[in-house]
Symmetry: C2
Subunit: 119 residues, 2 copies
């Protein structure tokens, strides 16, 4: 087991919306992802999903309201809740979700990343 | 669902070695804990445990080596691995672990906190 330095790991990739596996804990992965721009509306049928912002800002649109996450803030989106992540500038985000979770949830399209790299 | 601001939550308590529940995700809790001094050697039979340092430094002694975590670093201690958290100065740490996890793992003593507050 090795420790993970977030700054060092985030320096190792530059692609957006492509989560990297940084750790494995019980049935879940800790993933690191860089976000910029707008994703797609989706939800996860069975999985709650945590977003923790370590750099930048992340707007998570819900159907009835928006949640703006700044550095040092997290939110847990419960299973079944539709959400749309948007950032104006690059944001660095830690995701925590079950290993079964697909980034686009119930939707599969060109934004879907099924086989994640480990970092 | 509400977002959690880590700085704000950590300002709300001052006791050490007493994790507070800050979120619930699938079968796990996100917990916030302030650490200072030395804990007790223990392991968790069935649960992997994540330590993410958001302020200060945390030394995790293992039986064969030490891991020093600084701000922005995390480690996942696999189930079964004995560990002893130590800090010289106050450290603020995010824990992620299954709901079933007891802070003292296989050991129960005066440091055990069985009923965690939510924050």
């Amino acid at each position: 087991m090795e420790k993970v330095n977030l700054t060092e790991k985030f320096s190792k990739f530059s692609d957006y919306w492509s989560p990297k596996i940084a750790g494995e804990i019980n049935d879940s992965y800790v993933k690191l992802v860089k976000l910029k721009g707008e994703f797609v509306w989706h939800h996860h049928e069975q999985e709650d999903e945590l977003f923790l912002v370590v750099k930048g800002k992340l707007l998570i649109k819900l159907r009835d309201r928006d949640i703006l996450l700044e550095e040092g803030e997290f939110v847990i989106i419960p299973r079944g809740v539709e959400h749309l992540p948007i950032t104006e500038e690059e944001a660095h985000v830690i995701l925590l979700e079950p290993k079964s979770t697909l980034n686009t949830g119930n939707t599969q399209n060109e934004r879907t990343v099924a086989n994640l790299d480990r970092i």
